[in-house]
């Protein structure tokens, strides 16, 4: 039960990473930073007062989308066709820069706000109190997953997003504005990370240093579920969330190591992840 709530947060953190990798082939080491940035935006907008949570949430997400679009236009596009290590280095550079810039802009202290309106009181499940906002968070994550799926599979633009992962040149030949498509995808991925950071703020405190750990968690989730697969990411998030929840209680000494063991095992036996597809052979 509690594992589901952290799964929801993990899913929102990781799904954008998966989306961006699936379509653009970019491994975004700065993804955790955008998660933190979404939380920072929301905190700055509400000035730490939970009353403004729902009101400013869309603004924080919009700001993340804009940041994503700008980063894609200015930086990502220049390394799209370059070797992976340049992409990794570039996004790692962004991680370092965002870390220090947010320290300068938002300060070094812990950011945290209260439970948003409508979720102040716990609910009781089998006589045990359970934070109602956790259910809200699970709902938000489920809604995000569903909307994303509908977008990818039921809209024309979504079809293009999936198609670009398969064959970039063909889309270009068909007259699709591929550069714009890339900007949209990247912004969407970053927007999702920002959304995840913002809705996680009532549950955890955000400070500098969050990004480095968050991005590794996101990698584990995405690798386990399958790079580029939405449902895989969801499965990965639930698995990791539950392992952490139960592992923490049963074998706390091994719970960190165990997530890495799981990651390695998946990579060894199904490198493309539990629900991912084997990569198409590119020549």
């Amino acid at each position: 039960m509690t594992g589901l709530a952290s799964a929801a947060s993990l899913f929102l953190l990781a799904v954008g990473l998966s989306l961006i990798f699936g379509a653009l082939g970019i491994v975004n080491f700065a993804h955790g930073s955008f998660f933190a940035l979404g939380a920072y935006f929301l905190f700055a907008l509400t000035r730490g007062d939970a009353a403004g949570f729902w009101h400013y949430l869309p603004v924080a997400v919009a700001a993340s989308l804009v940041v994503g679009a700008v980063v894609e236009r200015v930086f990502m596009r220049r390394v799209l066709n370059r070797a992976e290590h340049y992409q990794i280095l570039l996004t790692y550079a962004l991680l370092l820069i965002i870390e220090d810039v947010s320290k300068i802009c938002f300060g070094a202290d812990y950011k945290s706000i209260g439970m948003p309106k409508g979720f102040e009181m716990p609910v009781f499940v089998l006589g045990i109190p359970f934070p109602s906002y956790y259910l809200g968070l699970v709902g938000l994550a489920a809604a995000a997953a569903l909307l994303l799926w509908l977008f990818l599979h039921r809209t024309r633009y979504g079809t293009l997003v999936r198609a670009v992962a398969q064959d970039r040149e063909m889309l270009e030949a068909l007259g699709v504005n591929v550069p714009l498509l890339f900007t949209v995808i990247f912004a969407l991925g970053i927007g999702l990370a920002g959304f995840g950071g913002a809705v996680s703020l009532p549950l955890q405190s955000i400070s500098t240093g969050v990004a480095v750990d968050a991005v590794i968690s996101a990698f584990i989730v995405v690798v386990v579920g399958g790079l580029g697969s939405i449902w895989g990411t969801l499965l990965g998030a639930i698995l990791i969330g539950e392992i952490q929840a139960f592992g923490a209680l049963v074998l706390p000494e091994f719970s960190i190591a165990f997530t890495y063991v799981l990651m390695a095992a998946v990579l060894l036996f199904r490198p493309w992840g539990l629900l991912g597809r084997p990569p198409a052979v590119r020549t």
Partner: protein
Amino acid sequence: MRTKLAVAAVVLAVFPWFLHDYGLQVAIQALVLGVFAMSFNLLFRNTGLLSFGHAACFGAAGYTTALLVSKLRWSFAATLPLALVAAALVALVIGFFSVRLTKIYFTMLTLAFSQMLWAVAHKWYGFTGGDNGITGLLPPGLLGNPKGLYYASLVALVLVSGIIYIVRRSPAGYTLRAVRDNPARAEAIGISAFEYMVAAFVLSGTLSGLAGFLHVAWQHSAFPDLLYWTTSAEVIIAVILGGSAEFFGPAIGAVVLVVLEAVVRSHTQYWPLALGMVLLAMVLFFPSGVISLFQRRQREEVPRAAA
């Protein structure tokens, strides 16, 4: 080329006598990272595989030395062979499983392995001291003296460079690069890449262990951070900053990185920001590394390893 090398060797040999104490410390750090970066590039340059797991080899050697000295009271230098064996074993395990994968899957698997080792060092208080690390490992004699350590690191760098040179020119080196550039063709002409790639990984990891040993001799301590993924990131930065396509590129990248850090840190607490800016500029404007700034002829980038 020969004369250039000879000049460089002479300069490096007399260098410590013109440095103040702190400069010498920076120089040692640069040499140690240089050994690590050269070793890392042995794998990267010849196979195109980007490992995020070299921290595991580096740290395994470092921890082996630290544990033998602190628990069994071994003399510092005597731990070197076992430290290298530990690094080689770790590299063998990681390499054996990982080189079957390519591209980002390889990178992620090496990352997972090294993070596992980190988690163990971080959690196993009784043995590794957990996050309090192992401290107070003052090496006696030559290694404990800054000038001595400098020359030891320099010898290590020369040794590692020599090994890499031999490997590069050997049939095995050509085979590896053939596999890197076109695995399908290599397979078609009957080359089994697997053994060669594991061997390259093990050699690269073992030599990284030498850097890990020197690092502990320099820092007098071992901490779980040695095994954390950011250690792998640092060596990758050094390699690409210097230019992986050039023989001494990684070593030069290490020197640039270490000196830059020392200078920036003495002026501001915003070193990560400065490093981020440098990396950004490098990726966007001089992708062949700083070494390309001194050359007319642009080298090609390391090609993508094909899927």
